[in-house]
Symmetry: C2
Subunit: 196 residues, 2 copies
């Protein structure tokens, strides 16, 4: 692995764990096992390195959603099932990602959303069309935004409140893992029942 790759990987790890403001360039250099000056040599500044990590992290966070929501061959129900299951698996592997993103998106969010063409993606997605058709057919669904907030909330929120849930439920790491994995099956059934 080249020094440049080592730095990027270390930056991702440390930024995800501590956020931009709490991260020192020296933390990244140490995590990467490289000389501090190489960070500026390859990436110019802490901010420029962060912007790269931020963009890629946000992109990876929405990659699953994009893939599933744009698959024309599966129904709305299967989309939800697939989305929830893949999302939970994804976050289990990158547990720091949700809080990192929610926290850093407090600033500069809009520019990033524009760069990723977020609004257009949703409105042009197979998911969106299926949802609109379902409403036309007379199903009493809530607005798409409520629906999105609900599916994502049920899926992502437990990871964001992990410390609290672990303490209240007295769960160790394997317990917590089991807890969120259970939700792969539970959330789709809940969603279906919600909108009977």
């Amino acid at each position: 692995m080249t020094a440049e790759e080592k730095i990027k990987e270390a930056a991702r790890t440390v930024f995800h764990k501590k956020g931009f403001a709490a991260t020192r360039t020296r933390d990244i250099a140490e995590e990467a096992g490289i000389n501090l000056a190489l960070l500026n040599y390859y990436f110019r500044s802490k901010k420029k390195l962060f912007d790269i990590i931020m963009f890629e992290s946000f992109q990876s966070f929405f990659y699953t959603m994009k893939e599933v929501f744009n698959d024309d061959n599966i129904s709305l129900e299967v989309k939800i099932e697939t989305f929830v299951a893949r999302y939970i698996d994804f976050i289990v592997e990158q547990p720091d990602l949700p809080i990192f993103l929610m926290n850093e998106l407090r600033n500069n969010a809009e520019e990033l959303f524009r760069r990723m063409d977020l609004r257009n993606f949703f409105q042009a997605s197979s998911f969106f069309k299926q949802y609109q058709e379902r409403i036309k057919a007379g199903h009493p669904l809530p607005s798409l935004l409520h629906f999105l907030a609900n599916v994502m909330g049920l899926t992502v929120f437990p990871f964001i409140t992990k410390p609290m849930l672990q303490y209240v439920g007295d769960l160790d790491e394997p317990d917590f893992r089991e807890f969120v994995l259970e939700r792969k099956k539970l959330i789709p059934t809940w969603i279906k029942k919600m909108y009977l």
Copy 2:
């Protein structure tokens, strides 16, 4: 208002908005309109001031929950309705609070939870007893932890993803406010349907 009060209020504002690491003591002094040295005069250090704000913020975040969950005179259904409505109103007034707490609770969370006796509170609450009785009576409820994660997720998550929801839904501030206030009525109906 005394200087000490001004500092605390300013500290709450700035810490909530930017988090501990991104906040400069000079930011707080400026926001409070006081001389920088007064911060250390009254609170010794940035960290000690932060710890006070953190404790009070977390306490205020759980005050509503404590009050509602321990009211013996109302049913489980009314508890949920009351909790959701009061929580949404509360966060509308303090929109920076959820992300601030979730973010800062990544570190030192357990000590704070212990100080607030969080686990005991839930297990001794009227809500907990009612929930257990409902299960004994044969209702197919999920574990209490799933239930908590669901209610809180549906309630709090939209505030955490506010920038994204605003962008995707093209909502201005009044639109977003309307969006979350709608959920005061919607969430309790969804919760009921989920557990038919």
